[in-house]
Amino acid sequence: MIKFILKRLMYIVAALFVIVTLTFFLMRIAPGSPFASEKSLPPEIEAALQEEYGLDNPWYIQYKDYLVSTAQFDFGESMKYKGRSTNDMIAESFPISLTLGIEAMILAVGLGVLVGVVTALYHNKFPDYLGTTIAVLGISVPSFILAGLLQYFVGLKWQLLPISGWNGFIYSIMPAFAIAVTHMGFIAKLVRSSMLEQNSSEYVKMARAKGLGKWTTVFKHTLRNALLPVVTYLGPLFAGVITGSFIVEQIFAIPGLGKYFVTSITNRDYTVIMGTTVFYSIILLFAVLIVDIIYGFIDPRINLKGGKK
């Protein structure tokens, strides 16, 4: 087990190296610079700025500098927002996105699994049609439309929840729901098809032949096997959700991490681009690793040591 994790950590480092390299060169290829604005700067000031951030060096020196600073997890000061370091920006906004993301994940997984199980259990009956319709709607209605509708009805018309801002749990309910609905739909569809596949296998029939009831069969036998493909999907999803959503955070005026992924690129804010990319990559790679470890616990057939004892 420990050997497996160490090996995977090495892969993660290798993957990060590739990601950093690719990001670096993509940033270079993209035209524009962090200092470009409507008013063109006097050439000497631009040169001074370039020099301060080391952008006047040849690419291989810059590449080396990036690698070194990335290895130290010190991404430097933002090129757009004076006096703010990338690390601070992430440290400030990530907890907000994380809270929102975890709430959304709980909603998405809880409701998704529930709807999936019910639809599978009542296959081709009314609850199935209802649940499938909800899931398809959830998938197909974009989050910004749902967010707008929620704000209008729940926030403005019925005055049940605050329309926007970030000031405690009550502010997180609507945005969490807006993020969760699409993922809930996907999870529900995934659980449904996976459950149906399991239901046609003989051990489920065997469980019924043992005299177990419908729900006991689901909870003791089918669900654990049916959740295997869902767990695979949850890893990358989790990484995506906890690092924030640009759209939903903008609509609800939430100071989360999501916006930096987009604004850093439009601003050509090289240090922030690198910081957010590496941060997201680390979370994603670890999420995938954790999924693999969880797999070993859910499915005894998977041996994490790889090969024989």
Binding site: E202, M206, K210, H221, R301
Partner: protein
Amino acid sequence: MSENLLEVKNLKINFKTYAGIVQAVRGVNFEVKQGETLCIVGESGSGKSVTSNALMKLIPQPPGIYEEGQILFDGRDLVPMTEKEMTKIRGNEIAMIFQDPMTALNPTMRIGKQIMEVILKHNKNVSKADAKKRAIELIDQVGIPFPEQRFKQYPHEFSGGMRQRIVIAIALAAEPKLLIADEPTTALDVTIQAQIIELMKEIQRTSNTAIIFITHDLGVVANIADRVAVMYAGQIVEYGTANEIFYNPKHPYTWGLLGSMPDLDNDADQLLRTIPGSPPDLIHPPKGDAFAARNEYAMQIDYEQDPPMFEVSATHFAKTWLLHPDAPNVPVPEAVRKRIEGYIQKNKEAGIDLGKVGE
């Protein structure tokens, strides 16, 4: 003669499909006595498995429909029972062994727990420790060494034959009165097949359980059956004791089945015989005898009227117009007759008394 444990009366099972209603089981009658083995034989699609699943009410509804008939188990009719009432019978009074041991066990649950589950479900006052003890006994009883270590293992750590033994242990866990074995040996190789059959015979000797054994392997039937029901196109076409079916078959389909069994003793040099054609479409069952189109002895009436069950003896029935008093006398085909004589000869040499088996 003892009481009938199970009596199936005119059972009809339909399935609703997009193409139409499939009449999978079309009026089946049979009974099983305490401690007796009934074999149901027939080719694929003849309704054997549907019949066996129907007895446990394991046919999903929809698409399955219990069109007609009764399943009397210990005097109670299972057909109108609710799902909840059935959970008290399944696993407890009627247990089932499945065809494919590779998929019949939950891959993510320890086998010990899978056995204990049945014991705990059907005996409310058994403690977990007692259930564990009993489960270990059962693993031992079905012939798996080191039961205590095996108790903690997962299905993937067992071979196919071992898994089938575990499935049998699960079936035996609540000491059922009736065991339904749906082709339990089909997915196993021949040596393991023989072991599993021996195991089942031994279980029957020690616990007096009635067994319904579904198979398409006549060799297995000869080995294990007290009585045999030959199924074709959702109906029982011949029904009798094992000796009657093997030594005095009356239905042309049974002749075909016996003739298509590989036999190394009596005519090893011959080509394997087959029954020409394929089973009829059960969405639109043919008029008259369902077997008529494949029957080389078919008469005009076979295409017009469904034959009734003709009584050959008190225990032997066959559904063919050939047994009608007005029918021409059609002898058993030469090749099949030679085989039967071979069997009788072999048994005589082995000193087995066959008793009276027809003429």
